[in-house]
């Protein structure tokens, strides 16, 4: 599989691989570490790559903006990205291919045949299901058919981006095309979902690297999302959390709180309900991410939140945690209600008074006799 895809980024493969073995291993280690794989795994990866063992990747595009691919392309530091792409064999990718039409289709079928049961099928974009799926057709076939064909014969299926994971933007109300995610189509098959808009490319790299080297997939949650990236919410790891815990909020864009970098919860931040690792694994190679630049998280990874809830609507806090204040050892509990004191006084006084009056009356009556 040398013809393509090495160098499909338009960079000559020869240039990238002109590094010595130690730097190679170092770079692989950095790549592995950035997605949470250990040093020993990195060594295995380097070994496998040196042997020329490269699993196939077939990348399908459906209802998408190609943002996830673009995001992945921007994980360079060029050497790193192409290096990692050197660890796999990208056998079909509509964006990156030089060829098109029948040539591309032939490459797809050839790769499927040669690597049946072993290739990684990556899905980008949602799949329309309304009206028998005619709203997205490639090479005369509907997206549903393509996915059922390619996906079911794959060794692993990765849905990159919210669109492929659960329908994303195309599925926003009223969802005119009946857009759904890949797991909906490939029911019964394990689909690794990597929602996001775009998906954080390093999450994809981590999953792909693990499967490429170890042949295993990372631990997934009940929605098929890798726990290492989607196991916690934005809120849990947000650098502005101390402001939330202290009750310091930006109330309006541009106010003092906003300028001071306070918590954006009141501006509609969906962080508490959104599972993703954006606060830890940033974007654009410059540590940028929405909350960091002062915009509340819109929950793009989370079905039912992203492209569904209004951006500035607040979410309820499940599993609330303590604020940054402490109760004292001796807390003030209960108080004496003045009304109750009054009632008690009146009632008690009335009863006692009545008893005394009755006794006085008896005494007077006796004295009369």
């Amino acid at each position: 599989m040398e013809a393509w895809p090495s160098g499909t980024l338009g960079l000559s493969p020869r240039r990238e691989t002109e590094i010595d073995r130690r730097d190679f291993v170092k770079l692989v280690t950095i790549a592995a570490a950035s997605v949470g794989l250990s040093g020993s795994v990195a060594a295995k990866m380097a070994e496998a790559a040196a042997k020329g063992v490269k699993p196939s990747v077939i990348w399908l595009h459906f209802q998408e903006c190609t943002g996830c691919t673009e995001s992945l392309l921007r994980t360079s530091h060029p050497a790193l990205s192409s290096l990692i792409l050197d660890l796999v064999s990208l056998d079909y990718h509509e964006t990156l291919f030089a060829g098109a039409g029948k040539q591309a289709e032939e490459a797809l079928h050839a790769s499927m045949k040669a690597n049946e049961g072993k290739y990684i099928c990556v899905v980008e974009g949602a799949i329309p299901t309304k009206d028998k799926g005619i709203y997205c057709k490639v090479g005369g076939r509907t997206a549903v058919d393509i996915l059922e064909d390619v996906g079911n014969k794959a060794g692993a299926v990765i849905a990159i981006g919210s669109c492929a994971s659960w329908g994303g933007i195309p599925s926003a109300a009223p969802n005119p095309t009946g857009a759904v995610g890949a797991p909906e189509i490939l029911k019964g098959k394990t689909v690794v979902s990597l929602p996001g808009c775009p998906s954080n490319p390093y999450n994809f790299l981590g999953v792909a690297l693990q499967f490429a080297t170890l042949g295993t997939l990372p631990a997934l949650d009940d929605k098929g999302r890798p726990m290492f990236a989607y196991g916690r919410t934005i809120h849990e790891d947000c650098p502005r959390r101390p402001h939330f815990d202290a009750g310091r909020f930006a109330q309006q864009f541009g106010d003092d709180g906003h300028r001071n970098g306070y918590c954006l919860y009141k501006l509609g931040c969906k962080g508490p309900s959104t599972h993703a690792n954006c606060s830890l694994q940033r974007f654009g190679e410059v540590d940028a991410w929405p909350i960091g630049i002062g915009h509340p998280c819109v929950g793009c990874t989370e079905q039912g939140i992203g492209f569904s809830m209004p951006i500035h609507a607040t979410v309820p806090i499940e599993h609330a945690t303590p604020p940054d204040t402490y109760p004292p050892i001796k807390a003030e509990h209960g108080g004496v209600s003045p009304v109750a004191t009054g009632v008690a006084g009146v009632v008690g006084g009335a009863l006692l008074g009545a008893a005394f009056l009755a006794s006085k009356k008896l005494t007077q009556e006796a004295e009369k006799e």
């Binding site: 050892i329 001796k330 807390a331 003030e332 509990h333 209960g334 108080g335 004496v336 209600s337 009304v339 109750a340 004191t341 009632v343 008690a344 009632v347 006692l352 008893a355 005394f356 009755a358 006794s359 006085k360 009356k361 008896l362 005494t363 007077q364 009556e365 006796a366 004295e367």
Partner: protein, 391 residues
């Protein structure tokens, strides 16, 4: 020579202005009780985790039963010490006791969080924790309530025999009455044993509070102090209630008998006071009664006991009903305050907890008191409870 006149119903209208008022209070309390069960204790009471026991325990149960020991005190006097001349006072005392203990039980149903498990307490004797003072109090009180109503059965049977038209019911009542007459010894013995046990244990209840109970009140003598004061309160309530009845129903009072009865309280109060001060001295707490913040409550208790004592000792030979009533009232207040202090005022869980009963809580207690009055009034008007002696 004094003759006993057999007890007889007083007759008269059941619904009067006072009873209507009492019914109104009872109705309000009933609604509040429904609200308590519908929304939980937190919404209707001021009870909290520092003060889990409030006036429903301190007053309704502890003080309420102590004020309902008339049957017990009279039982000792008439059946043990064989002072038969006090016999006319027994039935009304037993009625008050039955009502007081039943209302205490009803208060417990309202106060406990899971009253639907109550039936397990007497029946699950395999699960009994014999270390628990409360268990003994609970089982004892449950049994005693039954005993009290059995002690009232003769009055009920008499009424049924006389006034009910169904002949089979009349003969049943007669048979029951005869059986009770034979079994009286066993029942009366319980009627003296059980209160001895649980009235003293009501004091023992607070032993487990340890450092949370102020040192003036925390003593191993708590059970004995509670027992002695409750017997005194038993006589006090009989005196008070007799005077109140005489006043309300315009009946002739039993001044000489009541005067002698009140003198029975004297040795009890003297022993009580000696025991309290002696206990404080032995435990080295005498200094505390002058220094602690709660000292005024201690002194108020003592003052009320002493006031009662002085009133009794200084009573003229021809003491009037009003004065007798005040004597009883002071002693009742003294014993009540002692119990309030032991269970509430001197109980301090620390860490900033405080408690004062909430309005619904107070009104429900008032409702129970109103119920007691109502049923007492209805009972003496329709059943042979009140008798008397004719000079």
């Amino acid at each position: 020579m004094t003759e006993h006149v057999a007890p007889a119903p007083l007759g008269g209208r059941l619904l009067t202005k006072p009873t209507a008022g009492l019914l109104g209070i009872l109705g309000l309390a009933f609604l509040l009780i429904v609200w308590r069960f519908a929304t939980g204790l937190g919404n209707t009471t001021a009870l909290n985790d520092g003060y889990p026991w409030g006036i429903w325990i301190a007053f309704d149960v502890v003080t309420g039963t102590a004020l309902a020991t008339g049957g017990y005190a009279m039982g000792i006097l008439v059946y043990i010490l064989n002072k038969g001349k006090y016999h006319p006072l027994v039935r009304p005392a037993v009625l008050t006791s039955a009502l007081g203990y039943t209302m205490a039980g009803a208060s417990l149903v309202v106060d406990t969080g899971r009253p639907w498990n109550f039936w397990k307490v007497p029946l699950f004797w395999g699960q009994w924790n014999v270390d628990s003072v409360l268990l003994e109090v609970a089982v004892c009180i449950m049994t005693y309530v039954a005993v009290l109503w059995i002690e009232l059965m003769p009055a009920i049977c008499e009424k049924v025999e006389k006034d009910v038209s169904l002949p089979w019911l009349r003969s049943l009542a007669a048979k029951v009455g005869k059986f009770l007459d034979k079994a009286l010894v066993f029942i009366l013995a319980f009627g003296v044993l059980l209160p001895t046990m649980h009235q003293s244990s009501l004091g023992s209840l607070m032993l487990v509070a340890g450092h949370k109970l102020d040192a003036i009140w925390l003593t191993p003598f708590l059970p004995l102090l509670f027992l002695i004061s409750c017997i005194a309160m038993g006589y006090a309530i009989v005196v008070f209630e007799s005077c109140l009845s005489a006043s309300v129903f315009g009946r002739k009072g039993e001044e000489p008998m009541l005067r002698q009865l009140s003198r029975a309280m004297v040795p009890l109060v003297v022993i009580y006071l000696a025991l309290r001060f002696g206990d404080l001295a032995v435990r080295g707490q005498l200094g505390r009664i002058f220094t602690t913040k709660l000292a005024p409550f201690f002194w108020l208790e003592i003052a009320l006991f002493v006031a009662a004592l002085v009133l009794i000792l200084k009573a003229p030979p021809k003491v009037d009903l009003g004065r007798l009533m005040r004597m009883g009232l002071f002693l009742m207040l003294a014993g009540a305050l002692y119990r309030f202090d032991t269970f509430l005022v001197a109980f301090n869980p620390g860490n900033g907890w405080s408690y004062f009963p909430a309005v619904p809580e107070l009104l429900i207690t008032l409702g129970f008191v109103a119920a007691e009055f109502l049923i007492y009034l209805a009972a003496v008007k329709r059943f042979p409870i009140l008798g008397g002696s004719r000079a």
